[in-house]
């Protein structure tokens, strides 16, 4: 049979880096290419205890069909938590529990973006969400990233030049893949531009709780008086990725649309894990848990950066992330990182080339993403040593 693939999906490439990663599947490979949180951060004992208790006392409460909007006590807990730590207001906002940050992107796009609409994205940006936008037939326009957030001149030019911009996608803190954080100043200006051109912002903050340096910055959603910001977070890095839980904050006017979109997609998210998150956040030492997670990533990030400073050729630039899981290193301007990364994999270290995170995958990119949350300390040292040697060879060719 000749399948007629829907246009929306025919336009999504299988990841450009898939072929590269077949090479990286070697179990001896030093893996800087992934994006997994450290399993040392999972609160396993409490997960086991809470699960055993609820399955003993009230099993059908976590096994029967649940509500599309999410488990009500967790929704309330998260509202209080986000009001406290991110200064979000719930006077006019609502919060749903969804199946991970990825589904937040999926439903926001489903509800707000028509085929052919433009979504503005940081360039580079998280490929998982870029592919979500593509899978609804959106046209992506990339706005170059700078260490303090996207280039505002380029942003305004894109807003002026594209008539059907529907959404701006931004990861405000410890961005994936760059590790950059948008400054408070740029957050304000980006919101003002969204007002001026009357577009919505999809603010993705999966790493928000993982700040291990610098000062807290309120998300753009905290500035939002119009209801034009949809704010997503995730339990993947604070509890466990396989819970497949995230949360979306949005104006109450969108509640019925979001409910319908969720019902059409997977009915509801798993109740047991929502119950565990709520019990853990209300009855265990959640703050202490997050502090321990931050300390671990602070240590791992410091280790990777200090080794990079020692080992990398001076022509390779990188910034110091203040949180999250990633740092991006940049080869000199105009140099393509793809063959560099391919050679690194041959020598036993896997990174991700920047082109994988581009709005336009047909170009080249000089950055490569390195993950420090997942590899063991000795692997971080060894991997940076190998890459460092390669940078010296590569830049002196």
């Amino acid at each position: 049979m000749e399948y007629k693939i829907a246009n929306r999906i025919a336009g999504v490439q299988g990841s450009i880096i898939r072929e590269l990663f077949k090479l990286a599947a070697d179990p001896n490979m030093i893996a800087f290419g992934g994006g997994n949180p450290s399993p040392d951060t999972f609160p396993t004992e409490e997960i086991a205890r809470i699960t055993a208790e609820v399955l003993e006392k009230n099993p059908s409460s976590v096994l029967q069909y649940g509500l599309s909007e999410g488990y009500p006590p967790l929704r309330e807990t998260m509202k209080k938590h986000l009001a406290k730590v991110e200064h979000l207001s719930f006077d006019k906002n609502e919060l749903f529990i969804l199946s991970g940050g990825q589904q937040c992107a999926d439903l926001v796009t489903k509800v707000l973006v028509n085929e052919g609409d433009v979504v503005l994205v940081e360039e580079p940006s998280f490929v998982g969400c870029l592919n979500t936008f593509r899978s609804y037939g959106a046209k992506l326009v990339g706005i170059p990233m700078q260490p303090d957030g996207m280039d505002l001149d380029a942003l305004e030019a894109a807003l002026r030049e594209n008539k059907n911009v529907r959404l701006l996608y931004i990861i405000t803190s410890f961005q994936n893949p760059t590790g950059f954080t948008t400054s408070a100043e740029k957050r304000r200006k980006i919101y003002e531009l969204a007002q001026k051109y009357d577009i919505c912002i999809f603010e993705d903050n999966p790493y928000g709780e993982l700040r291990f340096a610098g000062e807290h910055l309120d998300p753009i959603k905290a500035l939002d008086t119009d209801g034009r910001v949809l704010y997503a977070g995730s339990f993947s890095k604070t509890m466990a990725p396989a819970f497949r839980l995230g949360f979306l904050v949005f104006d109450q006017a969108l509640v019925s649309r979001m409910t319908v979109a969720k019902q059409c997609t997977d009915v509801h998210s798993t109740t047991l894990f929502q119950y565990i998150c709520n019990e853990y956040m209300t009855k265990c030492d959640y703050d202490g848990h997050i502090e321990k997670t931050r300390a671990l990533y602070r240590h791992k990030c410091d280790l990777m950066l200090s080794e990079m400073e020692k080992q990398f050729a001076p022509g390779v630039r990188f910034n110091r992330p203040e949180g999250g899981l990633f740092v991006m290193a940049f080869l000199p301007d105009g140099m393509d990182s793809y063959p560099f990364v391919a050679e690194g994999i041959k020598r036993g270290v896997a990174c991700v080339p920047g082109i994988a995170f581009a709005a336009d995958e047909s170009g080249t990119h000089n950055g490569f993403r390195m993950n420090y949350s997942s590899p063991a300390d000795d692997k971080i040292v060894k991997g940076v040593e190998i890459l460092g040697k390669l940078t010296h060879e590569w830049l002196s060719r």
Copy 2:
């Protein structure tokens, strides 16, 4: 802010029955309107034991990010199981574990249906999937259901008259909402028509394991030599709904498209529950468990039907389901069931009017759906008594 809602979602009504069900939220209401499996069927003890064991021995295997295609051992287990019980072949087919039967519908539509394409559906049919098709901008064309499956003349007429039919949606066994099962003869003919007009079939079989009367019938997928049938099943009625797990069987040629669609949507489904399903199916008495579930529903269905035979006015028709969770009763032809159901709710019994399951929600329908899996036995007796009295009044007006 004035939101511009995407066309695809603007076209999906919030459920026509939502207003009706606000009335039905009274906790004293006898609930024939839901679709929940009986919590007595959940294998709670084994779920608790298997969970405790894996969280003790290998926690990160079920808490870390998993594969988009599903947990490999469960995929293999399900292939063997479906080869045995449904006579499916996996020579050219693949099986993914997805987030419930609902997500199977979501991804099939995402991959195969363009905006404006026609999806043929049984009329009435499961509103959750009808809304999924609508949420991708598909045009629905209803094919009237008969007790042995859809009207084949109407099906062929619809195939002839609509040039851009992409998909036929069918629940072959114990259909929701009618409880009807498509005969072996009609299964063959429907497949032949799909070949003749070169369309795909999305065969949904969430109740397949719940046959409590009559003889097994192979699904249409077992006849599929061309790879034109995509076959979905669910763990919601065999294990627990809140696992949010289902499975999709489809031709290997679609693997990369389905993988991308899953990645864009929610990355992967929960690993712990996939692990539990696999352990339960391979190491516990799964066959005995299913036999007990069937016995329970056989009893509840028999009870509801025998009470309906005693209590309902002779002008109300209904058939004897051979499995599943639902029976549909039909008022005399041309009579609208909506005001009947509304009056039933006033008297303390909630059903779902047939119009909620229609391709065209603007018409009327004479059927109403009753669920027997969830209410307690005494509620079944009492609820049918109340409805029975109402049928006598209603038909003699």
